[in-house]
């Protein structure tokens, strides 16, 4: 035996001694790593029923046993369903895979239900005392807040500063407003008159708990509404003036309230009201640009009013509207006495 042959045998023996066990152990190692539990839905609320599924090698050929809260479940297949407890409860779940050769592999997760809600309102204009929601229009901003209730087993809640928030509109992630403690964010309203899904994904810093909420947000149009500005009662916001009306007076002050416009007040430097009555352009004062006075000199008359509302801050908010107002001299006693 030459020295070279001896070296070759040595290398082979060394290779055999070192690698052979590895080659043998590989399938076992793979089996351990590939056994996992997939929970559907990914995030779950209290008292909901979730479906759990075992994933891994030899799943179809193996016997599957599920344990929840230490008790064996009746289901023995690859999937099982579990109803979760109230907020703050933990449901330990374990799956055991017994392969045909008798080897056992275990995998476990702890299910912790959470609650996440999205609150939102646009920064668009609604008049004071308006009882409805400020709605988004192109160019406005949505102010959104996530209310996440991540309750620990000891009854305490994870504070919002220890939660990581990821905000999305559709598939777009708003990275600049997402992050740890960012439960409140400002997100641009949808640009077109479409409906988008606003969502937030919340995770605890350690990743042990997570939750998600989503809501549909539709973009609206700026809605200028015409009202009678009564000398005694003020702007009668309860009774919008429709497109064609008969006014039982020879003079009336009319006021526009630009619902959902990108402004804080009805009269602002950003809003440009262009009025015309019967084709004649009207000049209004800056402080009451949203108001006009229509009158007839004695007899009855028709006022064809046209309004073009421009928003200097956002070109997407321009809107035009027209009304026909017939002023009649004979006083009537109101809508229901005709």
């Amino acid at each position: 035996m030459t020295r070279q042959t001896t070296l070759s045998i040595g290398v082979f023996v060394l290779f055999f001694l070192v690698c052979a066990p590895l080659i043998h152990a590989q399938p076992l190692s793979q089996e351990t790593k590939t056994l996992s539990i997939v929970v559907t839905p990914q995030y779950y609320e209290p008292h909901t029923t979730v479906v759990v599924r075992a994933e891994g090698d030899d799943i179809t050929r193996s016997e599957i046993v599920w344990f929840a809260n230490g008790a064996r479940l009746e289901e023995t297949g690859r999937t099982a369903s579990i109803t979760l407890g109230r907020l703050g409860t933990e449901t330990p779940l374990e799956v055991v895979r017994i392969t045909p050769d008798g080897s056992e592999t275990r995998e476990g997760v702890i299910l912790r239900p959470t609650e996440v809600d999205i609150l939102w309102a646009a920064d668009s204009y609604t008049p004071p005392f308006f009882r409805g929601r400020p709605l988004p229009t192109p160019g406005t901003t949505l102010i959104v807040e996530a209310l996440a209730r991540f309750k620990r087993k000891d009854g305490t809640f994870i504070p919002k500063k220890d939660l990581v928030y990821t905000w999305r509109m559709g598939n777009t992630v708003f990275g600049n407003v997402s992050g740890r403690g960012n439960n409140i964010a400002r997100i641009p309203s949808p640009l077109t008159l479409e409906t988008s899904t606003l969502s937030v994904e919340v995770r605890s810093i350690d990743g042990a708990m997570g939750g998600r909420a989503a809501t549909r947000v539709s973009s609206h149009t700026v809605t200028p509404v015409l009202y009678h500005d009564h000398p005694l009662f003020g702007v009668l916001r309860n009774a919008a003036i429709p497109e064609s009306v008969v006014f039982s007076d020879t003079e009336a002050t009319l006021a526009i309230l630009p619902y959902y416009a990108k402004t804080r007040t009805a009269v602002s430097p950003d809003l440009e009201y262009s009025w015309s009555v019967n084709g004649d352009v009207l000049e209004t004062g800056e402080s009451n640009a949203n108001k006009i006075i229509v009158r007839t000199d004695g007899g009855s008359g028709l006022a064809h009013i046209e309004l073009t509302l421009r928003n200097i801050a956002s070109v997407m908010q321009d809107v035009r509207k027209a009304w026909k107002i017939f002023l009649e001299t004979e006083p009537k006693n109101g809508f229901f006495d005709q």
Binding site: H228, S244, S248
Partner: protein
């Protein structure tokens, strides 16, 4: 001679005829001018009814009622009779004929009112005039009015009355001002101990213990929920909100419920403010409107989704909600003192899609009938149809129940006038 006499006679007759013609022309000429003068003077506010100085409701109130036609001053061109279809008159849900006769209506104030509340023992109803801010009192038995205060506050947008205290809310240039004062007839006819609260208060809730909760939405700042003594003193920040557009309500004996302002098809929340923070009570409901009961956890809530209004009752946060056989807003409902019975005004015609937004903007109105609701059993019974019984179309808003449960006061959203319904 005879010829001369005849000539004179004919001449005189001719002169008389000419004079009569001239006088007739003069009469019509003056009449025309008189009408023009009357029109001009009426336009200037003159030629109104002779002012009265003897009304217990106050001269201003009576003279306004006599001189100003009911609002609105306009009517839709080409008005057509609205075909009213009572979609919900179901014989199984009760015979209206028997009950209708017992409920009665009283048009308490023809003028727009800013707020109202019942006095103790179901004998009086106080309300605040929108034009003047005067506090008036309606005596329910005699159906008479008397004026309590004559301190003038023009253009009152919203008002609350809690026993002898009023909260008067006005707006100028986008700034909302809230003033509270005492109304003590024994001390005189002025608002006493006036105190201005913070600016930009968007909502005020009164609790049974007379304390108040209000929300301040100052531009550029986060909304703050504040609790204070009845006169607004000792304000204490309760919590801060991330979004704007909330209403404060009192429920379950001085607890605070915050309700997101509604819009059609937009998810709404009602959250309870607790010492440890906020806890949602109603979650993710489209077009959510809520009515609370002051001394229990009972809730009525409505939803508006895809053009359909639905109404539910919920006893507490644990029990499942009960769907009621009514299609209306919780804004048109009020709880009876027992917290189980509720009274709801339901539109007689099914509202169209987008109704909630349009109704809040004053672009649409309803003609409602009144229903009695058993919130525990989930049943409803029609008991009064104002259009059928009194020939009036009423769009009910801000209903208020009297302490003894005998009356409901509400505003007609069409003209903000005040009505009283005596329950059967």
């Amino acid at each position: 001679m005879n010829k001369l006499r005849a000539t004179v006679r004919y001449t005189l007759i001719g002169i008389i005829v000419i004079l009569l013609c001239i006088l007739t022309w003069w009469y019509f000429f003056l009449e025309t001018k008189q009408n023009a003068v009357v029109e001009t003077e009426r336009g200037r506010g003159l030629r109104l009814e002779t002012p009265q100085f003897s009304s217990p409701a106050g001269n201003t109130y009576l003279n306004l009622v006599r001189s100003i036609p009911s609002t609105p001053l306009w009517r839709e061109a080409h008005d057509t009779a609205i075909a009213v279809v009572d979609l919900f008159t179901d014989k199984k849900q009760g015979s209206k004929d028997a009950a209708v006769k017992q409920a009665t209506l009283w048009h308490v104030s023809e003028l727009p009112v800013a707020g109202m509340a019942f006095g103790a023992h179901d004998t009086t109803l106080r309300f605040i005039e929108r034009a003047t801010g005067h506090v008036l009192e309606a005596h329910l038995e005699t159906k008479t009015l008397s004026r309590i205060t004559n301190t003038t506050v023009p253009h009152v947008e919203e008002a609350y009355i809690v026993k002898d205290r009023v909260f008067i809310r006005t707006e100028e240039g986008g700034v909302v001002t809230t003033v509270t004062a005492l109304v003590e007839p024994a001390l005189g006819t002025t608002l006493e101990q006036k105190r201005k609260l913070e600016d930009y208060i968007t909502s005020v809730a009164q609790h049974p213990d007379d304390s108040i909760t209000y929300i301040i939405e100052q531009p550029g700042k986060k909304p703050v929920v504040v609790s204070a003594k009845p006169d607004g003193t000792q304000p204490k920040n309760v919590t801060t909100l991330g979004t704007n557009g909330w209403d404060a309500r009192s429920f379950n004996k001085n607890h605070i419920l915050l309700v997101e302002r509604p819009a059609d098809d937009v998810s709404g929340y009602a959250i309870e403010v607790t010492p440890s923070g906020v806890s949602p009570l109603l979650r993710n409901l489209p077009g959510l409107t809520v009515q609370t009961h002051a001394s229990s956890t009972s809730l009525l809530y409505g939803t508006s989704a895809r053009g359909v209004l639905s109404l539910f009752s919920q006893k507490n946060s644990i029990t499942s909600p009960l769907k009621l056989p009514l299609h209306t807003l919780a804004d048109k409902c009020v709880f009876a003192p027992n917290g189980i019975t509720a009274y709801c005004a339901q539109p007689k015609k099914l509202p169209e899609k987008g109704f909630l937004n349009a109704w809040y903007r004053g672009e649409t109105h309803t003609s409602d009938s009144w229903w009695s609701v058993d919130t525990a059993r989930g049943t409803a019974e029609l008991f009064f149809d104002p259009e059928l019984e009194d020939g009036v179309s009423l769009d009910v808003e801000t209903p208020v129940m009297s302490e003894g449960g005998a009356y409901i006061a509400f505003r007609n959203a069409q003209d903000w006038s005040l009505w009283l319904l005596s329950l059967p």
